[in-house]
């Protein structure tokens, strides 16, 4: 317990680092993923196929491997990144792969006839996208986007492996000067749990809102909540 009290400012700084890395990565990867999904939708196979391969690679490889590639692999090509930069790059690469998939699904969920109708009415492609398609896409992807984000924050703990001073990274350092490792790690877990709980509550809310329209009959065991 003493370590947590004495090193509280350090843990606060680590929490802050985790949060801003997560927010930055989420913002960039959502934007890029959405743009790439629109591009794949507009240009078809020549753009969609390489993106599908990209997505398959970065969604299927462990985060740790991507992190190591950015931190140890890029210097071999003459690109040197500090740990935080390498972590941001790695998580953005992974995030874009998932966001692309989420937005691709959202775009696929919109009836193509709507676009044909917009074109028949003389609406330009960019206007159709902005006024007709994207507002619906955002509504469709919201639950999946929130679910992904609630899980993604936890992946950032792996950044400690390349000595990023985020929550788990600082915890690993403090373990060296503490004789209560269990308490220390449990405290780190509690910080993550607090952050991801906020996202999990958002997930519940958006999921419920999305289901509200066409709620399937729940055959559940009555009563039991």
């Amino acid at each position: 317990m003493d370590v947590i009290v004495a090193q509280f400012p350090l843990l606060c700084a680590a929490t802050w680092l985790t949060i801003w890395m997560f927010v930055l990565v989420t913002a960039i990867s959502t934007l890029l993923g959405a743009m790439l999904a629109v591009a794949a939708d507009a240009f078809g196979a020549p753009v969609a196929t390489p993106l599908a391969v990209y997505g398959w690679i970065f969604r299927g490889t462990p985060e740790l491997i991507v992190l190591l590639a950015c931190y140890l692999g890029l210097p071999a090509l003459g690109i040197n990144l500090d740990p935080v930069e390498a972590a941001i790059l790695a998580f953005t690469l992974i995030g874009v792969a998932f966001q692309f998939e989420i937005f691709r699904g959202g775009l696929a969920g919109i009836n193509r006839q709507q676009r044909e109708a917009a074109r028949a009415l003389g609406m330009a492609w960019n206007v159709t996208m902005r006024r007709i398609v994207l507002p619906q896409v955002f509504a469709i992807v919201l639950p999946a986007w929130t679910t992904f984000s609630a899980g993604f924050i936890k992946a950032f703990a792996v950044a400690s492996a390349i000595s990023v001073a985020e929550i788990m990274g600082v915890t690993r350092r403090l373990m060296a000067i503490s004789n209560e490792p269990f308490v220390l790690i449990a405290f780190a877990g509690a910080i993550y749990a607090a952050i991801s709980s906020v996202l999990m509550i958002a997930e519940l809310l958006t999921g419920r809102a999305a289901k509200f329209g066409a709620r399937p009959v729940s055959p559940g065991k009555g009563g039991a909540a």
Binding site: W56, I57, G60, T61, P62, E63, L64, I65, L68, A69, L72, G73, P75, A76, L77, K154, A155, F156, A157, V158, S160, A161, M168, T171, R172, M175, N179, E180, P181, F182, V183, L184, I185, A186, A188, G189, Y192, A193, S196, S197, M200, P219, G220, K221, G222, A224
Partner: protein, 216 residues
Amino acid sequence: MNWSVVADNAGLLLSATLSTIAISITTILLSVVLALPLAVMRDSGIAALRRVTAAYSWATRATPTLTLLFLAYYGLPQFGISLSPLTAVIVGLTVSAAGFNMEFIRAGLRAVPAAQYDAMRALGIPFPTGLRRLILPQAIPVILPPLVSNLTLLLKGSSLASLVAVNELTGQAMALISFTYRPIEILATVALIYLALNGLLLLVQRLCERRFPSVA
């Protein structure tokens, strides 16, 4: 590029791949075995059991797997429980995966119409027998798809074992990088192996879908 580092260490990479597969399969089996009673307790008539299992589900889903793994490896010795790295990895990954799996199993159990539970009770069939012979066979088609599609996460999660000095695929990759200084060749090879293993899981998923066509 100098791919001979991969060829020279093919044996090491192969045995590391086998460890990754072994860790993943052990975790899958143990986590399902642990998740089933948790799922049943989560909807049981006893409030205390419901609350404890709800807390377990929340805690394990809200905490990074790495944290749970570190709790098992670095945390437990504080109470005099020292686990070997491999045991700690399996405990950490299993505890984490059970949190997700119990939710899938619970959703499957709830998808069985309530009348079946009532009928079971009316016929005096004991709950364990009913669960095994009546409820589970109906719940499995609902449980399997999300369970199997989540296995990729478990496979990727096994890479965390490298951080407590287990020489599975990622651990072996780190070791090889540190004495060959060939990060790109080694990481590319290891990434390809993970992708190939994912391909295998996809195959398992297809088989499950064919064996248990979706009821939804």
